[in-house]
């Protein structure tokens, strides 16, 4: 038996599902390094969130209430390039003629002029118009800014909510009495509401992020958003109080804004440390950043104004640079799209910060420009940064929104800078410059939007048609080899999203979900319904487009649709196949039970041994037929094993020796037609030998080489001249079946005696396409049938 295909025990049972070949995948929890989705918004979390939002809202309204009771001028002021205060726009028609006049000071007569008490005159220095001391960078300026406010508030200490009449000292115009009344709710500018709402939203966002995932990383984010909210709220207040800012608020405001800026920068470092994966010793580094921020703040309080300001600006920039450097080194260590995103946002933020600082410093001798920049420039920068913070948790939402936002932010920045430019260069009026710049940037936005949307490379590298083809190919493949689902699915996902890595983990998942803020996408692998009890697997796809992008909701929805389609295709095919095989089984069973039993009875009562043998033969054919109907595919080695046993059994009864040799270059699956044809050919040839040849020894060889299946049955019997044999039922059947398989058969005379029959079937392909058999043999010597 030298030539027999001797295989190890491992593949003896190889047509059965390779149960022990399923790789022990790591569990999903192990891959994600944390438990699957936390329960969100349950119990105290939701209550705390609602409480925070309600409290913040109440705070904003209380502040508005307080603002409403504060005094205000019935006109707005601006600074001329020469550094004088000009009356800009008046609220009441009687005051209109005053527009454009230069304002010197305000004279307040205590207790009314009738009693002749001394009037207090409060000069209005141009620096007093600055919204906050935060952006005043020289000692003298800051002193004058504070002094202006102090004098005014001293002068107005008699002010009552009923209003006080003051006289305006104007240049080249007689004094003009006006009434300084409380602002009232109606007087609160839209600016306050816009900034306060933005502040409220940012604060709620920070709280929500922290509450939904209570960990250090989100803590940093929450703190960053709180500092932004604080800055915005202060700006909202300043925009309305103007000259009437109480002195206590002045110092508090300057100190708080410095603190918020520094803390925000330290928060950036904190986030950079924990952004994708925690950096080594992140605790120490983050603590260092926080200490640095607080230390700088303490230090800046004791320094002269100019140095303190530079310390602040440089300190913030330095911390931001640290954050950038940390992000870059993290990206080099472990590429993650979040790092890339963070880097870009940080870079834009820091660059604009540097520009702002430079602009404020360069215009320090031009009070008018300086005022514009430190009011509008700072507000614009703050809004830009805030919206970045706001959108950060939603970066993995639809890519479309992201793109639109980027465009809007870009055109907003362009508009703001154009606005400043027009004012500075052409000395245009506030409104005119704003209108022109808005129009220009809108035009720019619209044209760019069109261009960008058409020019951007399509995110789908696969056409829909290809995806569908792939889905149905995978469905076929999974039916044949359920264990190939994972590799096939991961190939499709690779083609679709071009990810950095695809891991396979064990776990049950109902639908496609995003993890790590869009850094990971989890895709459940569809499986056959019959495999439901086996282990479910999930693909963990890491970072779309080679780690450059986050997964968006669109990607998630696409993957979900693919999984659903695949599952549907699978269950449909399975139902069809099940129906088909049930029907086949029923036919087979009826044939076997009814006709088999009758034939058996007939055989026992056969009058002659020949008839008995004939009926036995018929029963065996019937059994082959019904087994062929009942089974789907057979493995060639298994079938060979059964043929050998059958033949050796029959030959041993006929006192004849069997020499059986099998040489297969590879394992293939036989379909029903091939199996039953080969079974009958062999049986017929052996029967022929047994009944006619009187042979002592029969040699059977079966080989599969270069795709040709060769079967020879040789005996040393008395048969001669096979060409003269009458091809009755038996040999005619052999010819018919060989032809059915696309091969040819010939008989020859052997030396010294005997007859040899050779069957050649070229291009003998298995039941399943070759590539699938090859893939299966990658697992072991398994193949597609059982």
């Amino acid at each position: 038996m030298a030539g027999h295909l001797i295989a190890s025990e491992a593949d003896a049972a190889n047509c059965d599902p390779p149960a022990d070949l399923q790789h022990p995948w790591p569990s999903l929890e192990a891959v994600l390094q944390r438990p699957l989705s936390l329960p969100r918004w349950v119990g105290w979390r939701l209550k705390a969130m609602v409480a925070i939002v309600v409290m913040a809202l109440a705070g904003v309204l209380l502040m508005a209430h307080w603002l409403a009771s504060q005094p205000r001028f019935p006109f707005s002021l601006s600074v001329t390039p020469a550094g004088e205060v000009r009356l800009d726009t008046a609220d009441y028609p009687p005051l209109r003629p005053l527009e454009g006049r230069l304002l010197k000071s305000i004279v307040i007569e205590h207790g009314g002029s009738a009693e002749g008490s001394p009037a207090i005159e409060a000069p209005i220095p141009p620096l007093a118009l600055f919204p906050s001391g935060r952006w005043l960078l020289d000692e003298e300026g800051l002193r004058r800014f504070v002094a202006g406010h102090v004098e005014l508030s001293n002068a107005l200490d008699q002010w009552s909510p009923d209003g006080v009449t003051v006289r305006l000292k104007l240049q080249g115009h007689p004094d003009e009495p006006i009434l300084i009344a409380p602002r009232g709710w109606a007087g609160i500018t839209p600016m306050y509401w816009v900034l306060a709402t933005l502040s409220l939203v940012v604060a709620s966002m920070g709280a929500m992020v922290l509450l939904s995932n209570a960990d250090w990383r989100y803590g940093g984010f929450a703190l960053l958003s709180m500092t932004q909210a604080g800055n915005l709220l202060l700006m909202a207040l300043e925009s309305n109080l103007g000259l009437f800012t109480p002195t206590w608020l002045l110092s508090l405001d300057t100190a708080l804004r410095a603190l918020f800026d520094l803390l925000g920068a330290a928060g950036l470092v904190h986030i950079a440390l924990l952004n994708s994966t925690p950096a080594r010793h992140w605790g120490f580094k983050a603590a260092a950043a926080w200490t640095c921020a607080l230390g700088l703040w303490t230090l800046h309080g004791g320094l002269p104004a100019a140095q303190a300001w530079w310390l602040l600006q440089l300190g913030c920039a330095g911390l931001a640079m640290c954050a950038i450097a940390l992000t870059l080194s993290e990206q080099r260590r472990l590429p993650h799209p979040l790092n890339l995103l963070m880097f870009r946002v940080l870079l834009i933020g820091s660059l604009t910060w540097a520009l702002l600082t430079l602009a404020v410093w360069l215009t320090r001798d031009r009070p008018d420009l300086n005022l514009e920049i430190s009011t509008w420039g700072v507000a614009g920068w703050q809004t830009f940064v805030t919206s970045m913070v706001l959108i950060a948790p939603y970066f993995s939402r639809t890519r479309q929104v992201q793109r639109e936002f980027m465009l809007l932010a870009a055109s907003g920045t362009v508009a703001a800078s154009l606005d400043l430019l027009f004012i500075a260069v052409f000395s245009m009026g506030q409104l005119a410059s704003m209108a022109i710049s808005l129009m220009l940037s809108m035009g720019l936005y619209l044209s760019f939007r069109r261009w960008l949307l058409t020019q951007l490379p399509r995110p789908d590298s696969l056409s829909m048609e290809q995806v569908f083809q792939q889905i149905y190919r995978i469905a076929r493949q999974i039916e044949l080899q359920p264990e190939s689902a994972c590799p096939a699915m991961s190939r499709l996902m690779r083609d679709l999203f071009d990810p950095l890595d695809v891991l396979i983990a064990e776990g049950a998942l109902n639908q496609v979900t995003l993890e790590q803020d869009g850094g990971l996408m989890l895709v459940p692998v569809p499986s056959l319904a019959s495999m439901a009890q086996t282990r479910r697997t999930v693909l963990v796809i890491k970072h779309a487009r080679r780690g450059q992008h986050l997964f968006t909701r669109d990607d998630c929805a696409l993957a979900q649709r693919i999984v659903e389609q695949l599952q549907r295709a699978l269950s449909f095919d399975q139902a069809v196949e099940q129906g088909r095989s049930e029907e086949r089984l029923r036919i087979a069973q009826d044939l076997h039970d009814d006709i088999g039993a009758r034939l058996l009875t007939l055989m026992y009562q056969a009058p002659t041994p020949e008839i008995e043998e004939y009926i036995r033969h018929t029963i065996q054919d019937l059994k082959t037929l019904t087994r062929g109907l009942a089974a789907h595919t057979h493995c060639l080695t298994q079938a060979a094993g059964e043929w050998k046993r059958d033949i050796s059994h029959r030959l041993s009864v006929a006192r004849c020796e069997l020499d059986w040799q099998v040489k297969l270059e590879r394992e293939i699956g036989l379909n029903v037609v091939q199996w039953s044809a080969l079974t009958r050919i062999l049986r017929e040839l052996v029967s022929n030998t047994i009944s006619h040849a009187q042979a002592r020894r029969v040699q059977v060889t079966l080989s599969l080489q270069e795709g040709t299946l060769r079967l020879t049955v040789c005996d040393d019997g008395v048969g001669t001249a096979p060409e003269t044999w009458s091809h009755g039922l038996g040999l005619g059947g052999v010819r018919k079946r060989v032809k059915q398989l696309g091969g040819n058969v010939r008989w020859s005379v052997r030396e010294p005696q005997g007859v040899c029959c050779e069957v050649d079937i070229p291009n003998f392909a298995g039941a399943c396409p070759e590539d699938q058999v090859d893939q299966a043999s990658g697992h072991a010597s398994g193949h597609a049938s059982h």
């Binding site: 022990d20 076997h592 059994k623 059964e642």
Partner: protein, 241 residues
């Protein structure tokens, strides 16, 4: 001592044929009791359906059971006979492992294919009684998977015939606590699954043919030892033993 034989077969012609086979096989046949359905067998053995048959004064030593019977499956009787000290042989027209494997797991000591020739049947019957149970390649392969993985066997599950469903509950339980095969036994099974005869296996492994035979017998024992243990537990729970 005369051998008492029980033959359960619904086809009278086949029954007569099997009687001849039995008489030819043994010189000392004491008496052949014939039955055509499960009900009459239970009457003869004195137990009710689902119960356990216990040996009477003069027990049968050889019981031939057909699988397809008018009032049920032969597997039911095999299960009921798990405590009965007789050689139990399945006589059937089915040669596929979907039918034979559950029968072996229900405690059959061997099987005869009814369409085989008279002389072949006589020889096979003698072999089984002497302790040389047959093992077809398909069943050997099945056994390998069964012992290696403890998988529930597919043959026990399909509802395509009445026979297997009766044994399915027992079969699934067996799989969980199967015994392990020795390396020699797996080797023998591997050769058997490839269609080698016992003589050829003996030559390939360099051992005597009766050693191979011993391995096969041991495999048989391991195949249904747990099912018997389980049956005993079941019986004692029901207060039948």
């Amino acid at each position: 001592m005369a051998v008492k034989v029980l033959i359960l077969e619904d086809n009278p012609v086949a029954r007569g044929f099997l009687c001849r086979v039995v008489r030819e096989s043994f010189s000392d046949v004491g008496g052949i009791t014939e039955a055509s359905d499960l009900e009459s067998v239970r009457r003869i053995l004195g137990h009710s359906a689902g119960g356990r048959a216990s040996p009477q004064a003069e027990p049968f030593q050889l019981i031939l059971v057909d699988l397809e019977l008018p009032d049920g499956s032969g597997l039911e009787l095999l299960t009921e006979l798990s405590q009965y000290p007789a050689t139990r042989i399945v006589t059937t027209l089915y040669s596929d492992d979907e039918h034979l494997f559950p029968a072996l797991q229900c405690g059959a000591d061997g099987y005869l294919l009814k369409e085989d020739r008279f002389e072949v049947l006589v020889e096979e019957l003698q072999k089984i009684v002497r302790g040389q149970p047959p093992l077809s390649p398909a069943i050997a392969r099945r056994l390998l998977t069964h012992f290696r993985t403890g998988d529930p066997l597919p043959g026990a599950q399909p509802a395509n015939h009445t026979g297997a469903s009766a044994a399915s509950s027992a079969t699934v339980l067996v799989a969980s606590e199967h015994e392990r095969l020795t390396p020699r036994e797996s080797e023998v099974l591997t050769y058997l699954s490839k269609g080698f005869t016992i003589k050829e296996i003996a030559a390939l492994m360099g051992i005597k043919w009766f050693t191979v035979n011993d391995h096969i017998k041991s495999i048989y024992k391991k195949l249904n030892v747990s099912s018997r243990a389980e049956a005993a537990v079941l019986a004692s729970k029901q207060g039948l033993v």
